[in-house]
Every structure is written in C-alpha cells, then in structure tokens.
C-alpha cells in the first residue's frame, strides 16, 4: 500500500491554518475530507455534536454523503455495516447506553470484518442517567475485533479519524475502528487545530475497495452464511485474530505516512514523557492525560523521577511497547474511568490490561489503580494525590490495590 503513496507536497506543511474547533466539529471535518459516503445518526450526548456538524455540512453542500437518520443505535450500526459491505465508506458513532443498545450490531460488524469507522464520546452508563464521563461504554467492546484508539487532544481526534480509515480499510486488516474522545473534555472543548486539507486526505487515504462487495456487479457473494461450528468455526475467529495482530504494523505505517503528509508526528502506540530515567509512572489515556502530564512535570521540578505513559490504542493493545517504556520503574499508577464490578482486587478495566502485560516481566513495579467513576470530574490535586501514593508505595506496602479518589465518604 505504501508504494501507492505519492510524494509529499512541500507547500502543504509550510503554512498551517488554524481553526478553533471542538472535538465534535474536528471529527466531522475529518469525516468530510475523508469523503465518507454513508453516515448514520441517532442522538445521544455527548457524541451527537459530531452528527449535528455533519448534517449541517451536507445541508450546505460542503460534501456529498447520505445521512441516514436511524430509529435506534442498533439500526444505526446495522446501516453502516451493510453500506460498508456494498463498498461505501461509512461513519457512525454513539455514547454510553447508546452503544449498549447497539451491542449486537457493533459485534457483528467486527466479526464480519467490515471497516466501519465510529466515534465515541465516552459517557457513564445508566442507571441513573448521568452526563458524566466514564470509559465503561467503550470498554464493553474491547473483546470483539474493533480497533480502538483514544485521543488526547482535539487535534489528535481529528488526525486519528483519518488514520482510522486508512488502517481499517487496509486489506491486511479490514476491521472496524472506534476513535474515542473523552465526553465533554474533548467533544465539547474548543481548541485551535490545524486541519488536514482535502488534498492531504486524498493522497493519504486511498479509495475503499472491499475484496468482495455485496453488489451484483461482483457476482453472487454470500456473506455471513450460517455455519455448523465444526466447519469453519475456529478458522473464522482466527482470521479476525490475525487481522488485529496485523493491524499493529499497519498502524505504525499509517502514522509514519501521516507525518509525511501533514508534518504532524505521533508515536504510534504509546506516548511516554519523562520515562527515560523514571522511577515512577502514571499510566492513562485520553484528555485527562494533559492534566496528568502537568502533575508529573511539577513533581519533576521537585526532583521526583516520575514520567507519564499514555496509551493511544487499547485495541490492539500495545503490550510490547508498554513493557519497553515501563522497564526500570519501581511503582506505577493507572488512572482510569472504567470499571468492572466484582473484579480481582476491585481494580478497573485498564488496570487488568496493564497488569496482564506486566506479568511477563521479571521486575514488576508496584501497580496501583486510581478510579474516577460515576462521572464526577477529577481535579489536578487528585492526580497529584495519586502520584504521591505511588511514591509512598515503594516504602510502605499499600493495603489495597484500587482507590476511588473522587469518592465522598469512606473508600471501603
């Protein structure tokens, strides 16, 4: 695929033109330059702003796409799944319980290997109804073959959307892709960004050409026929597994090419800051990493050897890269907004992924979990507290693994 890429036009990176966009608008603008054909919308906060922006762009003739207003999230994901099977580039998204409602359609999209791209504005699950931010909605779909990338900034959310199409539609992958924005913190916060131009997007993103379209032009293709498990049960699952593994190299390639076209460089899987000589690490994802990085910087100024590790992808999970950057650390803390009730030691979903990865090392750091659940917004002092607790854990073995730092009352 990389052989098809044209050389970078030097003018493209000379004069960046800033736009002040919130996360929702930034994603919509990326969808526009990606020349998406079919979009399916159903409202739920906080992701809805993306669809609002797209609808007004299309109403104003900024680009041609069909916006199908679905009757539910389940229909929404079924619409794009099948549009993708015909050969259309598609866009979809949701939040919170909307994703839960669409669960069946979301799962079959991945297991059918259809490269739909979806945006998630993370939101706490019901009950009770809650506009706050949690990660449990996204992490429900950790296990079914969707690629999941997590943005820290509005700029990154914009760029990630284009890279998502490139990776998802690559013939070595052909898997759907979620681009995750922390609800409110990214979806609703406007910052200046440099948009990807239409020309850059066209060069970076080759047209979507599925190998077997559901279209009479390609002959009688039968897809997702019912099978007896003994026939191709494990083999079909293996195909999806191999695709997620292959996605790793494709992601690295795609971000490298993206930098060539736009001049914006990102480490593909893990953004490690101050980790070269670190004794301590704060690990997390998403928008709050900006605050966490400030905490680490302040502590560095006081002489504490602390760094931050930000995962840009949860699927495929970059375990090897994580082990490389965490090597030599004495104690680390996971900062997360997702939980699994009744889990081992009461720890969160991201903790499990990290702890599993660390099991493979001989020098495991002390690993604590800091949980921010129920949507109450954390403050910088909470992250500061987390940093202090991991430093202390080296001297005094902690009583427990997980701490709810925004909880009022006793953290039992």
């Amino acid at each position: 695929m990389s052989s098809e890429i044209k050389n970078i036009p030097p003018v493209a990176i000379e004069k960046p033109k800033f736009k002040v966009w919130n996360g929702a608008r930034a994603i919509a603008e990326a969808v526009k330059v990606a020349d998406v054909d079919v979009i399916s919308a159903y409202p739920i906060r906080p992701y809805t702003g993306i669809m609002n922006a797209l609808a007004s762009m299309i109403a104003n003739g900024e680009f041609i796409a069909d916006v199908v207003i679905a009757d539910s999230e389940h229909s929404q994901f079924e619409i794009v799944k099948h549009a993708s099977a015909v050969g259309a580039r598609t866009f979809v998204g949701s939040s919170g319980v909307g994703l839960a409602y669409a669960a069946e359609a979301i799962i079959v999209t991945a297991l059918s290997q259809l490269p739909v791209v979806g945006a998630i504005g993370t939101r706490a699950l019901d009950d009770p109804g809650n506009f706050g931010m949690e990660w449990s909605d996204v992490l429900m779909f950790r296990d079914y073959g969707w690629l999941i990338s997590w943005a820290k900034t509005v700029q990154e959310a914009h760029d990630m959307t284009l890279v998502a199409y490139r990776v998802a539609e690559d013939k070595r992958v052909l898997l759907p892709h979620f681009v995750v924005l922390d609800g409110a913190a990214l979806t609703h916060v406007a910052t200046p960004i440099v948009p990807v131009t239409k020309e850059q997007a066209t060069d970076f993103l080759p047209p979507y050409k599925p190998p077997y379209r559901i279209d009479p032009i390609d002959g009688p293709v039968t897809k997702a026929q019912h099978i007896a498990p003994s026939l191709i049960g494990p083999e079909q699952r293996k195909l999806v597994d191999v695709a997620t593994k292959r996605a790793k190299e494709v992601i690295v390639e795609a971000w490298k090419d993206f930098a060539t076209y736009t001049g914006r460089e990102y480490p593909p899987f893990i953004e490690a800051i101050g980790m070269e000589d670190a004794d301590f690490a704060l690990i997390g994802m998403g928008a709050y990493m900006k605050d966490i990085e400030i905490v680490a910087k302040r502590m560095r100024e006081k002489g504490v050897k602390i760094g931050t590790i930000r995962l840009r992808y949860v699927r495929p999970f970059p375990a090897e890269d994580l082990l490389r950057v965490i090597d030599g650390v004495k104690a680390a803390g996971v900062i997360e907004f997702g939980y699994s009730f009744g889990s081992p030691f009461g720890t969160g979903s991201l903790y499990h992924e990290i702890a599993t990865s660390l099991y493979e090392t001989n020098t495991r750091p002390e690993l604590l979990d800091f949980l921010f659940l129920g949507g109450r917004e954390p403050k910088v002092e909470h992250f500061m507290k987390a940093a202090e607790m991991i430093i202390e854990s080296v001297h005094k073995k902690p009583q427990k693994k997980a701490y709810w730092l925004t909880l009022r009352g006793e953290d039992i």
């Binding site: 054909d37 079919v38 399916s40 041609i64 796409a65 069909d66 199908v68 679905a70 009757d71 539910s72 389940h74 229909s75 929404q76 079924e78 619409i79 794009v80 799944k81 099948h82 549009a83 993708s84 099977a85 015909v86 050969g87 259309a88 598609t90 069946e104 359609a105 079959v108 047209p207 379209r213 559901i214 279209d215 009479p216 032009i217 390609d218 002959g219 009688p220 293709v221 039968t222 897809k223 997702a224 026929q225 019912h226 099978i227 007896a228 026939l231 191709i232």
Partner: protein, 319 residues
C-alpha cells in the same frame, strides 16, 4: 436494465432459479417455495438481505454451500429494516458520486414474522420512512419462531398451540393473542408506495406483486403467509393447498395498496368455513367446535371491512 414486467401466465416464468440447491429446508417448506418464486420474479440484479430466522439457519449450516445465485448478506434478527437501508443508501450514494455505474438494483429483505413484526418492527418502520427505490421488505409469515422450535410470535393466530403457548389443563386455548397485521402497519407510512399481502397461491399473484412492488418507485412491503409443515403440524404435501384454503376460507385476505389505493385481489365466494383450513393443522387440534365457530365469526365480521374497503378503494381499519 429493463424493468421486469408482470407475468401473464405460468409459461412466462423464467426457467432460471436464483434460489437453488444447497439448502436443508424441510420437505414442503412454504418459505423456501416462496423464496424461489420471489427471486425468480425479482431477477438477477437483486441483493437479498437475510435477517436471522429459519430462512437463515436452514439455508446452509451443515454445508459450506449457498443456495443464492445473487448477492446475499445476513443481518441480525432485528436488523432487516436497517440493513436494507444501508445497502440502498450505499448504492445510491456511490452511483451519485460516480463511484459506481448507475443501475437499477433490487434490495429485498426476506424477513420472517419474528424479524419483521416483533424485534425488527421499528427498523422496518424506519425503512419505510425513506424514499429509496426498488426496496422491498418481504414479511414471510409462517406464524411463529419455527427454527428455534415453534414459539409464538405476534403473528401467531388466535388459538394456535406453540411451545410458548401450549394448550394445557388450565389454559386450554393455546395462543390468546390476535394476529398482528403487519401490512396494515406498513400501510400507515406516508412514503410507502406499495403494500400487499400474498401467499403461495396463486403463484402468479405473489410473483406479480413482487414485480409491482419493485417497480413502485419507493419502499414497499409484501406480507406473505407461507405455511410451515414443522410448526403447523401439517403434511408437507399440503403446503400449497393450505395457502389456497387460507384464502378461500377468508382467513388470509389478498389485497394491495398502490399509492394509497386499495384493491381486493380475491373475494371467496362462497367463503369456505374456517374449519376446512384449521382441521388440516395439528396446531389447532385442541380447539373445540365453539372456538372454531368463534374464529369463523371473527373472519365474517372482518370481511365486512375488507368489502367496504374494496368498495371505497380506500383502506379502512378492520378492527
């Protein structure tokens, strides 16, 4: 592509099949006969969507074969309405943007009563609110969830036994709910161009309704009664005869609504007593004479409205 015109006689039916061998449907399967006739009528430029149901599970499973010689894609049990919209939207947009050669392509959902009248009703309704052309929803109604072991759906007739509505000592009747009329629900959508009911008999009625639906210029629905030997406890040899008896007893009404204009396709005269239809079916064996008479009376009352609708060429709700 030339649009398929209506078939005037059985001789005009093309010998080619688009729903062929490589399936394991029951002997005398009504939906399988229906699939064959529908796909013949639709022709080669057709995409079929198969929501989960007996026509999904029974059309492959043990074999890595496909009975479809046109493109076919599975969708989830409740996904029929949406999947067809996704396909129709993709085709239209790709053609509009010059990414695909412009062409007439039929999109047909073969959804069972469970997939269309129950779990997928909302999606079907959404589909009917759009204006995509050559989009046809077939509700193939065998009056229950047959491949999961004959459970009641909302189109199971009053008095039928299913594994969810068995006839017992305390509840002797079986199913106490009345059959939902999906065609009437479909007819209440302002954008729907064509709504019809059909069954396996007469075959040309079914096939020509498919042709009319696809040529109607908008989304369309055919609610088709397809007998199920497994779930109705009938002889495989009786499938087509049961279709005929359903029409002749007035139990199943053949009508169509073309851009709002109602047309009754068959008026049983004299109407046979519903006993003739029910007595061939094991699922009604427990019914007492008074139950059967009650059912016949309900049909009689309903027919007043069908006749009135036919007179006025306008649909009147029969309930």
């Amino acid at each position: 592509m030339i649009m398929q015109s209506e078939f005037k006689s059985l001789r005009e039916i093309p010998p080619i099949d688009y729903y062929t061998a490589g399936r394991r449907t029951c002997a005398g399967c009504g939906p399988a006969i229906g699939y064959r006739l529908i796909s013949k009528a639709a022709g080669p430029n057709t995409i079929f969507i198969g929501p989960t149901g007996c026509m999904y599970v029974a059309n492959a499973h043990q074999f890595l074969t496909s009975p479809y010689s046109v493109p076919w894609h599975h969708t989830q049990l409740g996904g029929g309405g949406a999947a067809a919209i996704g396909i129709a939207s993709a085709l239209r947009t790709l053609m509009l943007k010059g990414k695909r050669k412009p062409e007439d392509i039929n999109v047909i959902v073969m959804g069972g009563d469970g997939a269309m009248a129950d779990i997928g009703l909302s999606g079907l309704s959404m589909g009917l609110s759009y204006d995509y052309q050559r989009l046809l929803y077939i509700v193939y109604d065998n009056e229950g969830y047959m491949n999961t072991g004959v459970q009641a759906s909302s189109t199971t007739p009053w008095g039928a036994t299913t594994t969810f509505t068995p006839s017992g000592k305390v509840k002797p009747l079986g199913n106490t709910r009345y059959k939902k009329n999906v065609a009437l629900i479909a007819a209440s959508h302002p954008n729907v161009k064509y709504v019809a009911t059909a069954t396996l008999w007469p075959p040309l009625d079914l096939m020509n309704k498919v042709v009319r639906a696809l040529n109607s210029g908008g989304p369309s629905v055919i609610h088709a009664l397809f007998p199920c030997p497994k779930g109705w406890f009938t002889s495989p040899a009786d499938t087509v005869m049961l279709s005929k008896l359903a029409v002749e007893t007035g139990m199943w009404v053949l009508w169509e609504l073309i851009e709002g204009q109602f047309k009754l396709n068959y008026r049983p005269n004299p109407r046979k007593h519903v006993r003739e239809y029910l007595s061939l079916q094991g699922r009604f064996r427990h019914l007492k004479d008074e139950d059967i008479d009650k059912m016949d009376k309900m049909i009689e009352e309903e027919w007043f409205y069908w006749n009135e609708s036919a007179k006025q060429e306008k649909l009147i709700l029969p309930y």
